[in-house]
């Protein structure tokens, strides 16, 4: 029955496409957890049905039904059965979900959790700094080195792997592997304060060649001739408070309290998954982000004129 029902149920449960569901795994660790789930789901359903049948029969039993030995019920049902079933399950779980052993020289990505965004760095020959999105090559285990700049966060991309906390003072590791190219949504799993709800990230699994191209492109600052408005925006960015918090490689902006914006225009979302990066979104985001993101701690940008904000946005939109 399980053979037919499992796919049907899976379909039903994941029918809502777009869900970052652990039941639609795309990596070995998530696949192991999903397998474990289905074993436990069917086992658990059977046990629940059995126990409830015993309970209901005990209360509403027909006269003719015999009474099982109480010794057998307690030692068999309460003691022997759980010991056997749980031991089997425990051994099965030990053999599953073990993180994939990284290859000889694993790709290392450093992820630092901040209230409320993710700093993502690719150290090595082609250093890349980005935020709120992780690009990785398909089929290759990637080792994430996880740290926190403030409070405890937790990185969770359900389709690829279970979560791992980011704890101040500690460096933790998590191995991710995507078996198919695609976009996988993740979100902070540990309550981290005011905007915990708005701390998403996206993992983009790319074919090896595409990943190498991506890394090549992101490792270098954007060099482009700017229109007058964008040029003014660039000056404003460097002169106004923007550069206190943000970096743009190749410029004097070296702040590190907020995300690196070197290639901000290439990102699909702004504000750790809060806003889709459509045309015009940057303008609105710049005006609103102290309120929507940094909360009470940030100074507001109400003194910036609308046309200044538009100029800054025009500049940032060039940073592909």
């Amino acid at each position: 029955m399980g053979r037919i029902a499992t796919p049907v149920l899976t379909l039903l449960l994941t029918a809502c496409s777009g869900a970052p569901s652990m039941l639609a795994p795309q990596g070995p660790q998530a696949a192991a957890a999903a397998r474990l789930w289905w074993v436990m789901f069917w086992g658990g359903t059977a046990i629940l049905a059995g126990v409830m049948a015993l309970v209901l029969l005990a209360v509403f039993r027909p006269q003719r039904l015999g009474v099982p030995s109480s010794h057998l019920l307690i030692t068999g049902g309460g003691l022997a059965f759980p010991i056997v079933a749980l031991t089997a399950l425990l051994l099965y779980s030990f053999s599953s979900g073990e993180p994939t052993t990284p290859t000889q020289s694993p790709l290392i990505i450093e992820v630092t959790g901040h209230q409320w965004w993710w700093d993502v760095r690719y150290p090595g020959e082609l250093p890349v700094i980005t935020a709120n999105e992780i690009h990785l090559p398909v089929g290759r285990p990637v080792q994430l080195r996880l740290r926190s700049a403030d409070v405890i966060h937790s990185l969770w991309v359900p389709q690829l792997a279970g979560k791992q906390d980011l704890i101040p003072g500690h460096t933790k590791t998590l191995t991710l592997q995507a078996d198919a190219s695609g976009e996988y949504r993740g979100q902070c799993g540990e309550f981290c304060g005011r905007h915990h709800a708005h701390m998403a990230l996206w993992v983009y699994a790319l074919p090896t060649q595409a990943f190498d191209d991506w890394r090549q492109a992101r490792a270098t600052p954007v060099v482009t001739s700017l229109a007058p408005q964008a040029q003014r925006g660039r000056e404003l960015f460097l002169a106004a408070r923007c550069a206190h918090c943000h970096s743009i490689r190749g410029t004097a902006a070296k702040g590190n309290a907020g995300p690196d914006l070197t290639h901000v225009a290439s990102r699909n979302f702004l504000g750790a998954g809060l806003v889709r990066n459509r045309p015009g979104a940057l303008t609105r985001w710049i005006a609103a982000h102290p309120r929507l993101k940094t909360g009470k701690r940030a100074e507001l940008f109400d003194d910036l004129a609308a046309k200044d904000i538009e100029a800054i946005a025009a500049y940032l939109e060039q940073l592909h």
Binding site: M22, P158, A161, G162
Partner: protein, 828 residues
């Protein structure tokens, strides 16, 4: 009721009844205190439920921002805090406080004033927590108070202080109830009620009370450490100065996991009672169940790390905790099958309480199965802190505690009110609660597996979470309607029900042997017990009790008394004199509130004033012992006259002290754990500096030990009725003062101030704890010396002196440990 029964009733009532009107609040009788706990706990349950409804309304649609993040985080925090600390634990304590003496054939708990004090701490602590809303400062950092999110840097407002102080205040009640229930169950059972004849509910409460003594101290210690860090700059959790945020998680979950079981066990006790009564037979496999209770209590302390699977602890240790987490399912399985076997072997009669027990079976078994799932590391990495866990914990807590609680409320409602409950509305209420509960929480498993984390105040559309959340919200409102029906039903029966004859369910345990209407003295005479279900074997027992046919039936002196028996086989060994109504417990709670408010508003004056006033009230309380006017030996109708507790070596006061010291030792053991944990695990721990001392610790150690010797000499002097007692007491006090002065000199001149490093903070905290203990012992010894001069303490009336001496010796032991830790670096 026959004539002698009525006369006896009226004579007992004369000095057992609470004063009329509002003065009844000064009553300290366990029936009054228990009902106060139960009603207050239930009101907090309703409030906590309303908070949950606001959260469910918020999550009904994606992108909803009716509530901002701050308000939502306050609701999440206060919902969890309320349900755990202000509802679940206190209402079960209340049930224990109310029922235990009645079930074991006692007239009252051994420390009625302490019980009343605990209740006031609970009530005032709850009000204190909720008062934070008035200042727009409700805690919003989660009911688990993780650091660094709740340290001064990330939570600069007073919200976390409200939480830490309020919860610690409330937990005083857990400790007082624990001490009281342990001593009541072990020392005041009716004669003949051996351990093997004890109602299972008493076994469950005994295990629960012991668990409280071991589980709450780590929480209280953690809260004190965090408050020291927040308000006084100590370092325990700040990773840059040798602390570690993971230390908080360990301390919190060493409390937090046993907490789940100490909520479940009393509820399972209710299930056992209801199953026995409605199966019309004693529980099958009594000794199996007792073993399962003890197994659960012990195992529950070995699983806390399963709340921390995602913190990156090595997989090998995780495997150990994973196996332990599964192992705890086995005693639960034994209990479930013992209940099933009892139903099979009895003649089950369906009733509203039994209906709730059936609801419990389904819900709790399902929650237990998802519990096994989250105990498995690879699966937990996925669902940890997702809505799957929200679903799981509600199945276990609502299924494992609220369903049994409602079964218990329906079962004992006739006892509380004296009315027979009709069942129609009760049945409707059950089905609405049952349907509402599962509609809320069953879909939530899936919500979590689809990737929705907990504690998010809103979520984006298009992630597949919308319809599941909507169903949960609708289910939540249905559940609320069900609870409204239950409340309406209970209130209606209380106001309108028909009076019953004393045992409407034909139950077998002693609480149904009382005169209907629950007289404040419970039993006109203390029955002798020969079996587990006395009323089934001796249906005439209630009459014999009421007519004074058993023990302690001569209330001639107008004193409240109950019988003290020995722990194993319940042979009479003393008569425990009990206090009457007094406002002192309320005053003690109010002065404690003053001291805590002083910490909250950072006013040293208020704190010191509150502390001094509390000590004054407690001394006033101690100066009015319940045995003051009692003769040394009392004829209770046993084979020989029995001593009152002031001359008995088995006095409840002594037991109470020792249990309190156990709780204190647990707290100090966790402070040592904190020290070794930081030493070995904290990433920023620097090698231990050798604290320069110029021999001061050695001098102070000698002072400490000589103080202990002098106290021992004083005790010997007392035994010989020698005046040397007084002189030795004064000598010991002098040593104590000299020790404290030298200690503070050493701490201020030779130990770096606490904010410099976690090591300095640990040393200061440890020595602070020992100073508090020694000061308390000094107050006690001074008090006893004063009582000796007044002639109340002598070689016969030794109880108070014995308490003071044991407290002092304990303080010496703590002091030696503290010194050893301070001198540790010299050895390495």
């Amino acid at each position: 009721m026959t004539r002698p029964g009525v006369q006896l009733h009226e004579r007992l009532l004369a000095f057992w009844a609470n004063p009329p009107g509002w003065r009844a609040a000064s009553g300290v009788n366990h029936t009054s205190v228990g009902l106060r706990y139960i009603t207050t706990g239930f009101l907090f349950f309703l409030v906590g439920g309303l908070l949950a409804m606001a959260m469910r309304a918020q999550l009904a649609w994606s992108g909803n921002t009716d509530l901002g993040p701050d308000a939502y985080n306050q609701l999440v925090t206060m919902h969890g805090t309320t349900m755990m600390f202000l509802f679940a634990v206190p209402i079960l304590e209340g049930l224990g406080v109310y029922l235990i003496p009645k079930m074991i054939g006692a007239r009252d708990l051994p420390y009625p004033r302490l019980g009343a004090f605990g209740y006031w701490c609970f009530l005032l602590g709850g009000i204190f927590l909720y008062a934070s809303f008035l200042f727009d400062a409700a805690p919003d950092g989660g009911w688990f108070m993780y650091v660094p999110l709740n340290d001064k840097q990330f939570a600069p407002g007073p919200g976390a202080d409200f939480w830490l102080l309020g919860v610690t205040f409330v937990e005083i009640s857990a400790l007082t109830a624990a001490v009281e229930l342990v001593v009541a169950i072990l020392k005041t059972r009716a004669p003949g009620m051996t351990l093997a004849r004890m109602p299972l509910f008493a076994w469950y409460m005994l295990a629960t009370a012991f668990m409280m003594l071991f589980a709450f101290p780590p929480l209280i210690l953690g809260s004190v450490l965090l408050e020291l860090e927040r308000s006084f700059g100590f370092v325990f959790f700040d990773v840059t100065r040798g602390g570690d945020p993971l230390l908080w998680q360990h301390l919190f979950w060493i409390f937090g996991h046993p907490e789940v079981y100490l909520i479940f066990l009393p509820a399972a006790g209710i299930v056992s009672v209801v199953v026995e009564t409605f199966a019309r037979r004693p529980l099958v496999g009594y000794s199996w169940v007792v073993a399962a209770i003890l197994g659960t209590a012990v195992l529950s302390f070995g699983l806390w790390v399963h709340h921390m699977y995602t913190t990156g602890i090595p997989r090998l240790s995780l495997s150990f905790f994973s196996a332990a987490s599964m192992a705890v399912a086995i005693p639960s399985g034994v209990q479930v099958f013992a209940w099933i076997a009892t139903l099979w072997h009895g003649r089950p009669v369906l009733s509203v309480p039994l209906l709730y027990v059936l609801g419990f079976f389904f819900t709790f078994v399902l929650g237990g199965l998802t519990g096994v799932m989250v105990a498995l590391v690879p699966f937990d990495w996925q669902v940890h802190d997702s809505h799957f866990v929200v679903a799981h914990l509600h199945y276990v807590l609502f299924g494992g505690m609220v369903f049994p609680l409602f079964a218990g409320l329906y079962y004992w409602w006739p006892l509380f009110t004296g009315r027979t409950p009709p069942r129609r509305l009760g049945t409707v209420g059950f089905w609405v609660v049952f349907a509402g509960f599962h509609a809320t929480f069953l879909p939530m498993h899936l919500t979590g597996m689809l990737g929705m984390p907990r504690r998010v105040y809103t979520y984006a559309e298009g992630l597949g979470w919308e319809w599941l959340n909507l169903v949960s919200t609708l289910g939540g409102f249905l559940l609320t309607c069900g609870i409204a029906v239950v409340v309406a039903d209970l209130v209606l029966h209380w106001r309108r029900g028909e009076a019953h004859d004393g045992n409407p369910w034909q139950a077998g345990t002693l609480e149904w042997a009382m005169r209907p209407g629950v007289p404040p003295y419970n039993f006109a005479s203390i029955p002798r017990v020969h079996e587990r279900m006395p009323l089934w074997q001796q249906p005439e027992l209630p009459l014999a009790i009421a007519q004074g046919g058993h023990l302690l039936a001569a209330p001639s002196a107008g004193r409240r008394e109950t019988l003290g028996t020995n722990a194993i086989d319940a042979r009479p060994e003393q008569v425990i004199c009990l206090p009457s109504q007094t406002w002192l417990p309320l005053w003690a709670a109010l002065t404690t509130l003053l001291a805590l408010t002083g910490v909250l508003v950072q006013s040293a004056v208020l704190s010191v004033l509150g502390t001094l006033l509390t000590i004054a009230v407690l001394l006033g309380w101690a100066a009015r012992p319940s045995y003051a006017e009692s003769p040394v030996h009392i004829d209770a109708g046993a084979d020989r006259p029995l001593p009152n507790q002031s001359v008995s070596p088995a006095a409840p006061g002594l037991w109470g002290l020792r249990l309190a010291l156990v709780a204190s030792a647990v707290a100090i053991a966790h402070l040592l754990f904190a020290f070794f944990f930081l030493w070995t695990v904290s990433p920023a721990w620097t090698p231990l500096p050798v604290l320069s001392s110029r021999g001061m610790p050695f001098i102070s150690l000698s002072l400490l030990l000589s103080g202990g010797v002098l106290v021992q000499l004083a005790w010997r002097g007392l035994m010989k009725d020698s005046r040397a007692f007084y002189r030795y007491c004064l000598g010991a006090l002098t040593m104590g003062i000299a020790f404290l002065l030298l200690l503070s000199l050493w701490l201020t001149t030779h130990v770096p101030p606490p904010p410099t490093h976690a090591y300095a903070s640990v040393i200061h905290a440890l020595h602070g704890f020992q100073a508090v203990h020694l000061s308390a012992a000094m107050v006690l010894v001074g008090f006893v010396a004063w009582r000796w001069r007044r002639g109340v303490v002598d070689s016969t009336h030794v109880l108070e002196a014995r308490v003071a001496v044991e407290a002092w010796h304990y303080a010496v032991v703590i002091g030696v440990v503290a010194h050893a830790v301070a001198l540790l670096p010299r050895l390495s």
